[in-house]
């Protein structure tokens, strides 16, 4: 990670940023990522990002919770420790529903939370990769990844396109 080099342009308005993203993509350049101080509506569409699959993971976690609750309660109430509650049958599905619901929600939310942290490389103590500190307060960054094969002419092209699309500053940086 230490030798990851990027080139980035800073913008001072989200409307300019969205237009810039469209322009840059039209030029055929591959944007690595955008960093904004707040969620910008329409940026995902402009960058052509695919939908997150976090909710599919959530569904799977939830379904796991449902199954866990049902099988566990089934085993306890009919097999492991059957108790007669008010003359109800041991296998009383209605009585299990609230717990099943709770466990579904618990599995789905905790599972999605951890998946989210993993996908975004977030955890207590992990140092965040901040491209430019000003993107946390008032500026918007568009970044491009560089590697050892990136030629100087390519860099020059990126700089030109960034400048033409309204970037207020352009920097190169090693993260």
């Amino acid at each position: 990670m230490a030798n990851k080099k990027i080139i980035y342009g800073l913008y001072d308005d989200e409307v300019i940023l969205i237009d810039a993203v469209k322009k840059v993509r039209a030029e055929g350049l591959k944007i690595h990522d955008c960093y904004t101080p707040f969620p910008v509506h329409g940026l995902d569409d402009a960058m052509g990002l695919r939908m997150t699959r976090l909710h599919s993971a959530g569904f799977i976690f939830g379904a796991t919770g449902t199954l866990t609750a049902l099988t566990f309660i089934l085993w306890v109430t009919t097999n492991n420790y059957p108790i007669n509650y008010g003359g109800k049958p041991y296998l009383s599905l209605p009585a299990w529903i609230p717990i099943t619901f709770e466990l579904t929600v618990l599995f789905a939310s905790v599972g999605m939370f951890l998946t989210y942290l993993y996908l975004n490389r977030l955890a207590p103590g992990v140092k965040a990769e901040i491209v430019d500190e000003r993107t946390t307060s008032h500026l918007f960054a568009m970044t491009f990844e560089l590697d050892e094969h990136t030629s100087d002419s390519k860099k020059e092209e990126i700089r030109k396109v960034l400048a033409a699309s309204g970037a207020v500053e352009i920097h190169e940086k090693e993260l």
């Binding site: 939908m51 909710h55 569904f59 003359g87 209605p94 009585a95 609230p98």
Partner: protein, 466 residues
């Protein structure tokens, strides 16, 4: 795309709706001619009145709740519920027929509680004999219900409580035990303490006053809000927006009370022994989903015919989320109501489910839960589904019918008992109401621009993005 927001109500569409209405009436007549009873007719009439009146009143709720929340996105769809809310005028007239019918004796819908005799504890033998001769048909049928078992249990304790087998005995069998007092009166074997105790609330006069009050309040607000909205189109000042806000707040207070009492008075009182404090919400959510589905269907129709160019999948996505979320909420209420009574296991309370899940309503009982919960849950869960016009069309159409079924299950057991059916009469009457509803609502849509462009939050609605 003609891009216009002025709806043209062409004669082809009018003919189609009137055709639906006429076919509906014909089917209803065929249903009646092929042996459907008057009780069945009135039960269906009540069902369709509540459903369509409910959809139109919930349309007012849609407008007022969004107004109070200062929502911007709904401006694009606002004119559709506004047009739907105007049907409340006609729905109120349909309901008035039931109110007048209670006094004039057209129907027996509320006969369980609208019966002075069961509220008298002491009666003379002549009165008793007169009553039993008059009601000979009913006392042997489903009307000779658990109330007898209940009151015997409460009052003399002598009669054997043979639950659920009341049909095997005749009402007159008990007369042997009756001993007259000094005034020549006997303990009325038909005395029903639960109904007598509810007399203060559940009596003809108060019921009528309440019912008429609901209708007047709802229709009054519907007319007022529509008037403001149309004036806003002409003048475009914030004056009408602020006035709408005031009346919206008033309506929400009215609705908070009347949504529950309406459900008690018109639906829950069909079976006056049973009660549930959740019942008002349950009815409200059922009607609310039906209302949202109707809005979605009308919007999709307009969109497909080239109107509402600015309406996009983001607006429909929001409505789809409503349908999805409230279907889950409906299930939550259904289950909360069920589970507490199931756990408590008190005969007088569980009877409501025994009447539905252990009788020939069984199929509908389970179908209701599957279609109203699992179906929208699984189909609308994905984001893409809520943004897809075809999926929304299918789900919304099914849910309107399944909430009709939900009301069917609430209304039919106490009124027609085992003699229910879904045949020409049911289908015909639903089509009659649907035809009239669509005919009038599209007529209202044609009266004004489909998008209120002078609304202060119009711009916000254009930029809606989720």
């Amino acid at each position: 795309m003609n891009g216009s927001n002025k709806f043209e109500y062409n004669s082809k569409l009018k003919t189609r709706f009137l055709g639906l209405l006429i076919v509906g009436i014909v089917l209803t007549v065929v249903g009646m001619a092929t042996g459907a009873s008057m009780d069945r007719f009135w039960s269906n009439y009540l069902l369709d009145t509540i459903l369509f009146l409910g959809i139109s009143v919930l349309a007012i709720f849609f407008l007022t709740a969004h107004q109070i929340a200062m929502s911007g996105w709904h401006i694009m769809v606002k004119r559709v519920p506004e047009a739907m809310s105007q049907f409340s005028k006609v729905g109120a007239i349909f309901m008035l027929v039931i109110i007048v019918g209670l006094w004039a004796g057209y129907h027996n819908l509320y006969a369980h509680w609208d019966n002075p005799f069961v509220k008298e504890k002491m009666v003379t033998l002549e009165e008793l004999e007169h009553y039993e001769t008059e009601h000979a048909d009913h006392l042997g049928g489903h009307e000779k219900d658990y109330s007898r078992v209940w009151q015997e249990f409460q009052y003399d304790g002598k009669a054997e409580v043979e639950e659920h087998h009341a049909d095997e005995h005749h009402a007159t069998d008990h007369k042997v035990e009756l001993v007259a007092n000094d005034q020549g009166e006997v303990v009325n074997p038909h005395y029903d303490r639960l109904i007598a105790d509810k007399h203060g609330y559940l009596n003809k006069t108060f019921w009528t006053i309440r019912s008429i009050a609901y209708l007047l309040l709802w229709v009054g607000v519907a007319i007022t809000l529509r008037k403001f909205s149309l004036k806003e189109d002409l003048e475009g000042t914030t004056k009408w927006f602020l006035r709408t806000k005031f009346w919206s707040a008033i309506f929400l207070i009215i609705w908070a009370v009347t949504s529950s009492t309406m459900a008690w008075d018109w639906v829950m009182s069909l079976d006056p022994h049973w009660y549930s404090t959740l019942f008002g919400w349950y009815n409200f959510v059922s009607l609310w989903i039906a209302c949202l589905c109707t809005i979605v269907l009308i919007l999709i129709y307009l969109k497909r015919n080239g109107y509402l160019a600015e309406l996009n999948e983001n607006h429909l996505h929001d409505l789809g989320k409503y349908i999805f979320g409230f279907s889950v909420f409906w299930t939550y209420l259904w289950f909360s109501q069920f589970m507490l009574y199931w756990y408590g296991n008190i005969p007088e309370e569980t009877r409501w489910w025994l009447d539905r899940a252990r009788t020939n309503y069984k199929g509908i009982f389970y179908a209701n839960l599957i279609i109203n919960f699992l179906f929208p849950f699984l189909t609308l869960l994905r984001r893409d589904a809520k943004r897809n016009l075809n999926v929304l069309t299918i789900v919304a159409s099914v849910l309107i019918l399944s909430h009709w079924l939900d009301f069917f299950l609430m209304i039919m057991p106490p009124t027609v008992g085992d003699h229910w059916g879904i045949g020409f009469l049911e289908v015909g009457l639903f089509m009659t109401f649907a035809g009239l509803f669509l005919y009038l609502v599209f007529g209202e849509l044609a009266k004004a621009s489909l998008v209120p462009e002078k609304h202060p939050l119009y711009r916000e609605s254009l930029d809606h993005h989720i």
